[in-house]
């Protein structure tokens, strides 16, 4: 009988049946519609250039760092983009050799000194974007 008591007490104290805190924090994946994390991309640079049609445009460079991605890195990420008040549409960022996803967006020049991009993850099944964030870059 005493052995049974010792076994039970040992089980009570050695058990790891604690609350799973990570279960309450499943909101860190940028592909989760309930994502509660920080901005998941960085706007880096801004340049003027002439495009293939001979028009001058502003090119905004951004990056989606690999550490903001899920553990399994997809080969590409589809996003929906706005630049200032211009709707750019769906863009695709491909993974480079560093594991990051460089983003390049061409927008019409509107005379601003600062260009702000709004990027959201694009769900092709639902045809909508979510987890939209804004980042700005200036000349």
């Amino acid at each position: 009988m005493k052995k049974l008591v010792y076994i039970l007490i040992a089980l009570s104290f050695t058990s790891c049946l604690k609350e799973i805190e990570a279960a309450d924090n499943v909101d860190t994946n940028i592909f989760d519609r309930d994502y509660k994390g920080e901005k998941w991309f960085e706007a880096e640079d801004l340049t003027y250039l002439e495009n293939e049609d001979g028009d001058y445009v502003v090119r905004i460079s951004a990056v989606l760092p690999s550490e903001n991605m899920p553990i399994y890195h997809p080969s590409h990420v589809r996003m929906y983009a706005h630049v200032n008040n211009q709707e750019i549409g769906v863009i695709t960022a491909y993974q480079n050799s560093n594991g990051d996803y460089p983003i390049s967006i061409d927008a019409e020049i509107d005379g601003s000194q600062e260009y702000c991009i709004i990027l959201g993850i694009y769900d092709e099944d639902e045809e909508e974007s979510f987890n939209e964030f804004v980042d700005c870059v200036s000349f």
């Binding site: 058990s15 799973i20 994946n29 989760d32």
Partner: protein, 234 residues
């Protein structure tokens, strides 16, 4: 230490007993529920069989069976005749008291040992079951969390999150049950130990002495191969 002296005489067929003349047969019809009785004849010879051949004469018989009061009677043996001795023994008061005491003892045993131990066992088994189910569910939740952090499919992520939510709530219920039953088991085991010690210190199992009152008498035990006379010295 009682010393027992057994004197056994084997006498072949056609021996001394076959030559005794003027014998009659006695049959004992003794109403007892255990099927066993002993008959002491003239305070000397103890018989342990339901019929026997006896020399002609008058006999005083004392009949005894375990758990019954001793019964006295008399009968005559006539040569060549069969004498039937009927007796209905009554249960002894000591045995009635023993039965009462033993029932009380059993009741106390069930109440103070069987019941707490059974409840402890059930509670412990339930605790073990809840613990195993909790660990299984915890593993499911942890696997789903891992899947969540791996996936880049919004639809799959919604499904995984629903599964995490459902299993995590189940896990919380199971581990709550585990802690409740674990505490209950410890309390019940403690109660069982205390109750068992109390029972051991306060109750003694009643015993009933079933020794024959004729055990120190000569007994005649005939067999198909002869007969045996036993006398025990206590």
């Amino acid at each position: 230490m009682r010393s027992i002296l057994i004197l056994t005489l084997f006498i072949a067929s056609g021996s001394l007993f076959s030559q005794i003349e003027k014998q009659g047969l006695v049959k004992f019809y003794i109403d007892v529920d255990n099927g066993y009785f002993e008959v002491l004849l003239n305070d000397t010879l103890a018989l342990k069989k339901f019929r026997d051949s006896l020399p002609e004469g008058h006999y005083q018989a004392q009949i005894w069976s375990p758990t019954y009061e001793q019964f006295s009677t008399e009968f005559d043996i006539n040569a060549g005749e069969v004498t039937e001795v009927n007796a209905k023994l009554i249960k002894s008061e000591d045995y009635a008291k023993f039965e009462f005491d033993y029932q009380e003892y059993q009741w106390q045993f069930r109440q103070r040992v069987t019941l707490p131990v059974t409840l402890s066992l059930l509670s412990t088994l339930t605790t073990g079951y809840l613990m195993m189910k909790s660990y299984d569910t915890k593993k499911l939740v942890e696997n789903d969390i891992l899947l969540y952090h791996h996936s880049s499919d919004p639809g799959a992520i919604q499904d995984v999150k629903a599964s995490i939510d459902q299993n995590n709530r189940k896990y919380d219920r199971l581990r709550t049950g585990y802690y409740i039953f674990g505490g209950l088991s410890v309390a019940l085991i403690g109660t069982s130990i205390w109750s068992g010690i109390y029972f051991k210190n306060h109750f003694t199992e009643p015993v009933f002495n079933e020794d024959s009152p004729f055990r120190d008498k000569f007994s005649l035990n005939p067999t198909p191969y002869g007969c045996r006379i036993v006398y025990k010295l206590g």
